[in-house]
């Protein structure tokens, strides 16, 4: 079994809202604008309660549950206040988009056997249920399958690397994204 986002319940990550369809180039520009705006605002206002950055068809909302404390709307890593808004505006799947995760503790293999072509490469489109790798645990070959359709953005582990249950193996870009 594979699943996405296996970690702790995700914090309220603001998703860029697309008010209307736009072409990819335009979206990139607008996102860049939003990111710059967010960083600027966060530098000026040290402890905001809530923040909305809007540019073109994109708006990002960030709310701080406890205004008196350091803002931590995104990751448990304790990033700087500027990070959340900037990260949230990233269009790609990193770091909190869908992932294919390890179904077991074991060794990660990208190909069905040594020397064979890998199941998938970066840039490949995969369908739901498609095998994308193998995790070997105690000589048991456990197939790793994509849970949802999408494009392989990044292969996060090396062939032969030891992985734990739930560890991220591939970053996926959902099929319907941009």
């Amino acid at each position: 079994m594979t699943r996405n986002s296996p970690d702790t319940p995700e914090p309220a990550v603001p998703e860029p809202e697309l008010a209307e369809p736009a072409d990819p180039g335009q979206v990139g520009e607008v996102l860049e604008q939003v990111r710059g705006e967010a960083i600027r605002l966060l530098e000026e206002v040290p402890q905001p309660r809530a923040l909305r950055v809007q540019a073109g068809g994109v708006s990002v909302d960030v709310e701080w549950a406890n205004a008196g404390q350091a803002a931590q709307p995104v990751a448990p890593a304790g990033d700087e206040p500027a990070e959340p808004a900037a990260q949230a505006a990233e269009p790609a799947a990193e770091p909190d988009g869908p992932h294919v995760t390890s179904p077991a503790v074991g060794v990660f293999y990208r190909a069905p056997e040594p020397g064979a072509d890998p199941f998938v490469a970066e840039g490949d489109t995969v369908s739901a249920g498609q095998q994308v790798a193998i995790v070997e645990a105690m000589k048991l070959m456990i197939p790793v399958e994509a849970e949802q359709p999408g494009r392989i953005v990044t292969v996060l582990k090396d062939n032969g690397e030891a992985v734990e249950y739930g560890e991220r193996l591939f970053a996926l870009e959902p099929e319907d994204a941009g």
């Binding site: 296996p6 702790t8 077991a104 060794v107 105690m138 048991l140 030891a162 249950y165 560890e167």
Partner: protein
């Protein structure tokens, strides 16, 4: 002979932490394995390494032999400690460890298999001369055969799964009329729970005491017993309070039973720490019940009276060392008692009551030990058993230990939304005149819970 370099702990909760502490004192590195649910657990913080082996359901994490052995091999562990529960009495784990060059901290696989089969264990122990309740020494295959045995024993009888344990897969039958149905039901239950429908029948003692003998055996043919624990305060075969010495039993009687247990351990080829469970009838007659092939929840009781660290003994034995004590060196001092603090609601039939612990203040003070994995802010998962903490006290005498335990229970503060504990109920048991006098039997919990229902 050296000890291990690195031990993988194939368990969770307080026992995982207990094992990790023993390892640290012996300068052995530790690997914790955990499910996604337990990623913030105390042992994960404490151990030198941690490997996430699976999701919350134990079947795919703490009960997954491939996941555990894979984690052991990749982390370079040279031994596996199974703790109690989970895979601790599964001969397959012991065997797979051995086949992969890992030391298993427990008895050899074939010994676990043989003693895990209750009828085989009864047969062996009867041959060695341990006293038995009247009953069948072989599994029964037809209802007619079983009814015949029940008639010979005399009612009430108890039908038990041959592969059973932990108080599951057994039925009490009070008269011949109910036997057939109970027999079929227990077989079906045994099949469902243990994948083995074989059952046997023995006499049922409605009011008895539960007394067990702790043994240690090494791989060199030596075995000793460390005295007894009285675990009479039980609810549905789940122990709530354990103590040593057992009240109102002579040291001579215990040593006699202890010697029989040692004889049984040697006959079985036992290696490691194990427990021989006995029922003690009102007439003072001991009857062998079963052998537990693992460290037990209540082992600290024995540690406090013998001043021995049982988990360290397990590690030394598994590493091939001979026992550090001979029988004449085993001393037993004073009185120790353990209370199990469970996240359960005694007012709702002891239903599990998990949740986040807003407050968690364990007691302290002299001769007061708390073995727990809980901490303020800890979220007690609903996925596993409800044991939250073990509170163990020692005092020179039983009455002093009782006072100390009550004082410590009173200090123990646990609060959280939806969280209930057995603390209040345990204090009720302590204040029961029959318990205080050491004149209680296995019916005590039923008596105290029903009294409460009548008065409210």
């Amino acid at each position: 002979m050296s000890l291990f370099q690195k031990v993988l702990i194939a368990n969770r909760g307080e026992i995982a932490l207990r094992v990790a502490r023993a390892c640290r004192e012996l300068d052995i590195a530790t690997v914790a394995v955990h499910s996604t649910e337990d990623r913030d657990s105390a042992v994960v913080q404490y151990a030198d390494e941690a490997v996430q082996i699976g999701p919350a359901p134990a079947k795919r994490s703490y009960l997954s032999i491939p996941a555990i052995v894979e984690a052991a091999l990749r982390s370079g562990a040279d031994a596996v400690h199974p703790g109690y529960g989970f895979l601790s009495e599964d001969p397959d784990l012991a065997e797979v460890c051995r086949d992969n060059g890992l030391s298993y901290i427990g008895p050899p696989a074939d010994v676990i298999a043989r003693l895990g089969d209750k009828t085989a264990a009864r047969q062996l122990m009867a041959e060695v001369g341990l006293p038995m309740l009247p009953g069948s020494l072989h599994p029964l295959h037809t209802v007619a055969e079983a009814e015949q045995v029940a008639r010979e024993i005399g009612y009430p009888v108890i039908i038990k799964a041959a592969a059973g344990g932990g108080g599951r897969g057994m039925s009490i039958v009070h008269e011949a009329a109910g036997f057939g149905a109970a027999y079929q039901q227990t077989r079906a239950q045994a099949q469902a729970l243990f994948g083995d429908s074989r059952v046997y029948v023995e006499r049922y003692l409605a009011a008895a005491r539960h007394v067990e003998i702790q043994v240690l055996a090494d791989g060199h043919g030596n075995a000793v017993h460390l005295g007894e624990r009285d675990c009479t305060v039980q609810r549905r075969q789940q122990k709530l309070i354990e103590e040593s010495p057992a009240p109102k039993l002579s040291r001579e009687k215990i040593d006699q039973v202890g010697e029989l247990a040692v004889r049984g351990a040697l006959a079985a080829g036992y290696v490691g720490a194990g427990t021989f469970e006995f029922l003690l009838a009102p007439d003072g007659q001991f009857s062998f019940m079963e052998v537990n092939c693992r460290i037990q929840v209540e082992h600290p009781v024995t540690e406090l009276v013998t001043r021995m660290d049982l988990v360290q003994e397990q590690l030394r034995i598994a590493a091939g060392h001979p026992l550090s004590v001979a029988q004449q060196d085993v001393e037993r001092h004073g009185a120790a008692m353990e209370c199990r603090i469970n996240a359960e609601d005694p007012d709702r039939d002891f239903a599990p009551a998990p949740g986040v612990l807003d407050e968690f203040w364990p007691p302290g003070g002299p001769f007061t030990r708390v073995d727990t994995h809980a901490y303020p802010g800890y979220s007690v998962p609903a996925a596993y058993d409800s044991l939250l903490a073990k509170l163990i006290v020692w005092a020179p005498t039983r009455p002093a230990a009782l006072s100390r335990m009550d004082r410590a229970l009173e200090e123990f503060q646990v609060r959280g939304r939806g969280v209930s504990t057995t603390i209040g109920f345990l204090r009720r048991v302590l204040s029961d005149p029959r318990f205080a006098a050491g004149e209680h039997d296995t019916t005590i919990v039923g008596r105290l819970t029903s009294t409460k229902e009548e008065t409210t």
